[in-house]
């Protein structure tokens, strides 16, 4: 289970998270939505200990990770897989080396077993036979899928997705959505998806959390949030520009 308790974080005196609290049950899939710059990615990075809050707690299976140092966090992070907005593939390695990275460093599996698992992970993300390519040879969608293969190959219990469909065309976005649903259901992992794509949030999330001005504005089943009468939620869901803001 993941629990965020009253998280506060600011950058250069600008508050980004201002008392964010929520819980995510084991096996649940939660979509975190909100406008660009509202702190979605910052929140996601707090869940895996990449950022530390100024106050508040992050509990992973009841263990507060905020006071942990970098080396103590390594143990907790073995429960996580993360797909980055930019994919963040290691550009000095091939696709297969990227996917095998965690297995080579953190397990005692034989090379044959690692190769088998890498091939399976690439099959799951519909990229068989791409192991020898370098990340630079891949399209944006393929890079995201390799990032997902790298995140699932060691069978983590929690998967974090940071804007998985941003910058992709609708067809590729749809394939990534299907992939996330498939991974969620087949591997039975807890998923946290940060997105501002309403279709992705509706398809992948069992629950939707909306952030606004550093606080949780809405938290509930997708239909409840998307049918909300709250003007802030409505404006975001309907994609209506703020009349006070210059276009």
């Amino acid at each position: 289970m993941i629990e965020a308790r009253d998280l506060k974080k600011s950058f250069d005196a600008q508050p980004v998270l201002d008392g964010v609290s929520f819980e995510i049950e084991t096996g649940e899939s939660v979509a975190i939505i909100g406008r660009s710059g509202c702190g979605k990615s910052v929140l996601l990075k707090h869940l895996v200990g990449l950022l530390k809050p100024e106050s508040g707690a992050v509990l992973i299976d009841g263990e507060n990770i905020v006071p942990m140092n970098e080396r103590q966090l390594l143990r907790v992070r073995q429960k996580f897989g993360m797909v980055f907005q930019s994919a963040a593939l290691f550009d000095s390695m091939t696709v297969a080396e990227n996917v095998a990275f965690a297995l080579r460093r953190n397990s005692r599996l034989s090379e044959a077993e690692i190769a088998r698992r890498v091939a399976h992970a690439l099959d799951v993300v519909n990229l068989p036979g791409t192991g020898d390519k370098s990340p630079a040879e891949l399209s944006g969608g393929m890079r995201k899928r390799v990032g997902l293969a790298r995140a699932i190959v060691y069978e983590p219990r929690i998967l974090l997705y940071d804007e998985p469909t941003t910058g992709l065309d609708p067809i590729v976005s749809d394939s990534i959505d299907q992939l996330m649903v498939r991974v969620r259901d087949e591997l039975n992992v807890t998923s946290v998806v940060v997105t501002h794509d309403m279709r992705t949030a509706r398809r992948v999330g069992h629950r939707v959390v909306m952030l606004h001005q550093g606080k949780v504005q809405a938290n509930g089943m997708p239909d409840r949030v998307f049918d909300s009468t709250d003007p802030i939620v409505r404006q975001f869901v309907d994609g209506v520009a703020d009349a006070r803001e210059p276009s």
Partner: protein, 259 residues
């Protein structure tokens, strides 16, 4: 003190603190051997083998110029045969380690800062951390370990090539008697000079690699951040080498009984 000056002092002290923590983590990780041989050998090749051309050219031309200049001065007082002795002592104690360090800072330090800086701005370091890998173990330790081991080898290579090139210039071009040249060189340059050169090189390897890794891991956002980190890595490494060289010269001279 103005607020901007205060801010600069605070930032500088904070930076020194972060650098000290990085040095501590690196030392602890080195002692626990938290490094894979594959990563280490790759860095050993990258720092040692790929620096060959730079080190050979620097060593050879420094030795030749020093030999020629020494001869020009010594010839006036009929001490031509002491030329190689001066070159040998200078190359072992100062020019070999310092010039090799400056050239390696330019080539290797810049490459380390640019590579790690790019990994930082493209979230590859965050990706490492989510894959339960400590960035110090994976990125810093192999580079620092390889630099500490390769720098003495590169320095000795530069010293040998410099003395050899100076010998050729002295005997073939300037017409100095080779027997007396060697006799004086062996008489005045001793084990202590080699110990000084190698010891300095070990320090400079650690300084250059640690500063460059630190600058890469703390670089600002975007291409500008990486560019600035790369420049600072080279400049700070070079300045630190020159300052530390003075204190090492005095300390090692005292310890080895040269003072």
């Amino acid at each position: 003190m103005t607020s901007s000056a205060k801010e600069r002092v605070v930032n500088m002290l904070a930076g020194l603190g972060e650098f000290a923590f990085l040095a501590r983590d690196t030392a602890a990780s080195l002692l626990r051997l938290k490094v894979t041989w594959r990563d280490f050998l790759f860095q050993f090749y990258s720092i040692g083998v790929e620096s060959q051309a730079v080190v050979l050219i620097t060593g050879a031309f420094t030795g030749m110029v020093l030999g020629a200049q020494t001869y020009f001065q010594f010839h006036k007082v009929h001490m031509d045969t002491a030329t190689l002795a001066v070159v040998a002592v200078s190359m072992c104690d100062e020019l070999g380690p310092v010039l090799t360090a400056l050239m390696v800072a330019g080539r290797v330090g810049a490459a380390i800062a640019a590579e790690i800086g790019t990994m930082r701005v493209t979230e590859q370091i965050d990706a490492l951390r989510t894959l339960a890998t400590h960035p110090v173990d994976y990125l810093v330790v192999p580079r620092v370990g390889a630099a500490i081991l390769t720098m003495p080898l590169l320095t000795m290579e530069a010293i040998c090539v410099g003395i050899g090139a100076s010998y050729l210039v002295s005997t073939r071009l300037l017409g100095i008697d080779p027997a007396y040249l060697w006799y004086n060189a062996l008489h005045f340059a001793g084990d202590a000079d080699i110990v000084i050169g190698v010891t300095k090189a070990v320090f400079y390897g650690g300084i250059i690699s640690l500063i460059s890794c630190y600058k890469g891991m703390t670089c600002g956002q975007g291409a500008e951040g990486v560019g600035r980190a790369t420049t600072q890595a080279v400049v700070y490494s070079a300045i630190t080498v020159l300052i530390v060289n003075f204190f090492l010269t005095l300390t090692l001279g005292k310890l080895l009984g040269l003072l």
